[in-house]
């Protein structure tokens, strides 16, 4: 199994270099493309070559018939009778995907006594709600939840299954995907439907957020993806009709023993939800000190915003770690994001680029943050921020 270049035909345009997901093509000193050892013969480059110079002996894999798999499902997450916000965000996206496919949306809700949540799920896009009710499903347990969900998915054959990338979702999704013998893509920031193949295109940051990768699950169903909280937008559709289906669940005592919960300890201190914030004022390296962050607090107080920071700001102790936005922090999508002294490294952008309006204040006019800002001020944050606070008071 290999892929090679016909150097007679190669004109050295370099298109194939850009399309290779593995960085396995380089331009030789003779201005001809060359395939490197780390090529896995994925075939992504074949179509990019207008000269027909890329040759392969790889046989295309046959795609099974999945026409019996229909509908977009969301696994709803609840805790003590309250839905996790990511569930409603996923339903918003599921609605959009299902409408494109001409299919329906279903929410699968495991829990103890969670029937009262069904209406909320319907009002956010679900056509059907499957209630998996059992006293032992009150609290999340990996094996018990996987056992309960698997047969329902097998019976109803959804085409797409979405799960929130919460701590619980990241524990459950890979276990369930392996059980269902299907592919799974973690932490997607974008989901869409391919026009020709009608498959789910799953886009996520890779290599620490340095590139975005679009991933397809062509050979198994359901197409499973997790999405971090705050990435998608919920859509409220009041007055919708939905069907609620109760599904009996049996839990065997030995499966309960697989994870014997001794105690749950609530984390000390107030839990900060940047995800719920309407506006966020964030500071980065350019702020330079904890004192400068006090200016951000003043601005935030005037406009009713939460304060956040980049990884650098957290590492310098200018702001608490639970207020970090970015690849290794939280993903947020407020109405208004004011980025102060933030250059806009991809790692940070990954956490805030879906904000409705972005404002950037930075002294460097070439800072990448300005490329994703709706409005920007080129200037010194130490002058601009107090001035902004004053004018808004």
């Amino acid at each position: 199994m290999s892929t090679w270049i016909d150097s007679e035909k190669c004109n050295g345009c370099g298109r194939c270099l850009k399309t290779c997901p593995y960085g396995a093509i380089e331009m030789g000193s003779d201005d001809k493309a060359r395939i490197l050892d780390n090529c896995v013969s994925c075939g992504a480059c074949l179509e990019s070559c207008r000269q027909g110079a890329i040759l392969t002996d790889v046989q295309p894999r046959s795609i099974p018939d999945f026409s019996r798999h229909r509908d977009v499902w969301v696994i709803a997450e609840q805790q003590h009778g309250e839905l996790h916000p990511v569930t409603l965000e996923l339903l918003g996206k599921a609605r959009e995907l299902a409408d494109i496919l001409g299919q329906t949306v279903a929410a699968l809700l495991p829990g103890d006594d969670s029937a009262s949540l069904a209406e909320t799920l319907v009002n956010h896009g679900a056509d059907r709600v499957f209630l998996l009710r059992h006293p032992d499903l009150r609290d999340y347990r990996t094996v018990v939840y996987t056992d309960a969900i698997e047969p329902v998915v097998r019976e109803h054959r959804p085409a797409i299954l979405l799960i929130g990338a919460t701590l619980q979702g990241r524990d459950l999704a890979p276990r369930l995907a392996r059980r269902l013998q299907t592919g799974l893509t973690a932490d997607c920031t974008e989901l869409s439907i391919d026009e020709d193949e009608k498959i789910l295109l799953q886009t996520r940051p890779a290599f620490g957020g340095n590139v975005m990768a679009t991933i397809a699950c062509r050979y198994s169903r359901p197409q499973m993806a997790t999405v971090r909280p705050g990435v998608m937008a919920p859509v409220c559709l009041p007055g919708r009709d939905g069907v609620v289906v109760e599904i009996p669940v049996a839990v065997s005592p030995d499966r309960l023993q697989a994870e014997d919960v001794i105690e749950t300890i609530r984390a000390a201190g107030k839990k900060i939800s940047l995800q719920a914030a309407r506006a966020i004022v964030a500071g980065g390296r350019g702020m330079g000190s904890a004192a400068a962050f006090a200016e951000l607090e003043k601005l935030a107080a005037v406009i009713g915003a939460e304060v956040a920071g980049t990884r650098i700001a957290v590492e310098n102790d200018w702001i608490a770690a639970e207020r970090q936005v970015g690849q290794t922090g939280q993903t947020v999508r407020p109405e208004l994001y004011i980025a102060c002294g933030i250059s806009g490294a991809v790692q940070h952008r990954a956490g805030m680029m879906n904000s409705r309006y972005i404002i950037a204040v930075n002294k460097d006019p070439n800072a990448p943050i300005f490329k994703i800002a709706d409005w920007g001020i080129v200037g010194d944050v130490h002058q601009v921020i107090p001035e902004l606070t004053a004018q808004l008071q």
């Binding site: 409005w375 001020i377 080129v378």
Partner: protein
């Protein structure tokens, strides 16, 4: 563990130091040359956890990795910290594997090692950030699992007690062995590898075995890209369609312009 010593297997991965990765401004592709390869940070904590359990309860720590030949460096490093034996899964047909194919390959290797009482992995690798391998290996081998473990309290008989992160804070759980844990960097302070052990590992005094697909009884169609259920079909540099309006000049005027935009969009 009474009578019998604990058999611990630690999964490690060699990763590019992603904090050092740059994009080629001309081609938009990753510049991989000159980027250091390191032992994945979370995995270092997994190795430390395995060694501490061995020190307290007795037993053996086997370090298992899948990767190209040079990934033997991270196996050696883990042996230098105190691991007893290493296995590197290396074969051209493993290349391009998604987490489905990777967990299949690792699962078969764990069976060949002779299963184990406890499998420990880092929560996630910094190059993929998927956090999927641990739970997928656990499911394949039908093991109990705890992810995001930040404290290992004790081994009592055939059970292990750990604390893991959950939405509310922390959850203390008791898992019957065999079990699989994925651990976070809060768990411990990893020790440095001993130079003498590193030398032993490099000179071949410490046992590191290399296994290929045939050793695992794995067909090429089940491994690597061919055995994967998901494929990367495109990569691109992140960008946004916004084209911002920039205000410069003195702070007062620039801010006044901005405030006018904020007010007209009813943002303040």
């Amino acid at each position: 563990m009474t009578g019998k010593k604990m058999r611990i297997i630690v999964l490690v991965k060699q990763v590019p130091d992603t904090t050092e990765i740059k994009l080629n401004p001309k081609t938009g592709s990753l510049e991989r040359e000159g980027v250091k390869s390191i032992l994945n940070p979370d995995d270092r904590h997994a190795v430390e956890a395995g060694i501490r359990l061995k020190e307290e309860y007795g037993g053996t720590v086997t370090v298992l990795s899948m990767g190209p030949e040079q990934a033997i460096d991270v196996v050696s490093e883990a042996l230098g910290m105190g691991g007893d034996a290493g296995v590197l899964l290396t074969d051209r047909v493993f290349a391009g594997a998604d987490t489905w194919a990777t967990s299949t390959t690792l699962g078969l290797a764990i069976r060949k090692i002779g299963s184990g009482d406890l499998i420990i992995c880092g929560r996630q690798a910094i190059d993929g950030d998927t956090a999927q391998i641990g739970p997928q290996v656990a499911e394949m081998l039908n093991l109990n699992q705890a992810t995001s473990v930040c404290n290992i309290h004790a081994v009592e008989g055939k059970k292990i007690i750990v604390s893991q992160r959950c939405e509310e804070g922390f959850k203390k759980v008791r898992l019957p062995l065999p079990a699989l844990l994925t651990v976070t960097d809060e768990l411990n302070e990893p020790r440095y590898p001993l130079v003498s052990s590193l030398l032993d590992a490099c000179s071949g005094s410490l046992p590191i075995q290399c296994w290929n697909a045939a050793d695992l009884g794995l067909q090429a169609s089940q491994a690597g890209l061919e055995g994967s259920l998901t494929q990367v079909i495109k990569t691109f540099s992140p960008k946004s369609g916004r084209d911002g309006e920039l205000f410069s000049g003195d702070a007062k005027t620039a801010v006044a312009n901005l405030v006018e935009r904020l007010r007209s969009h009813q943002l303040v």
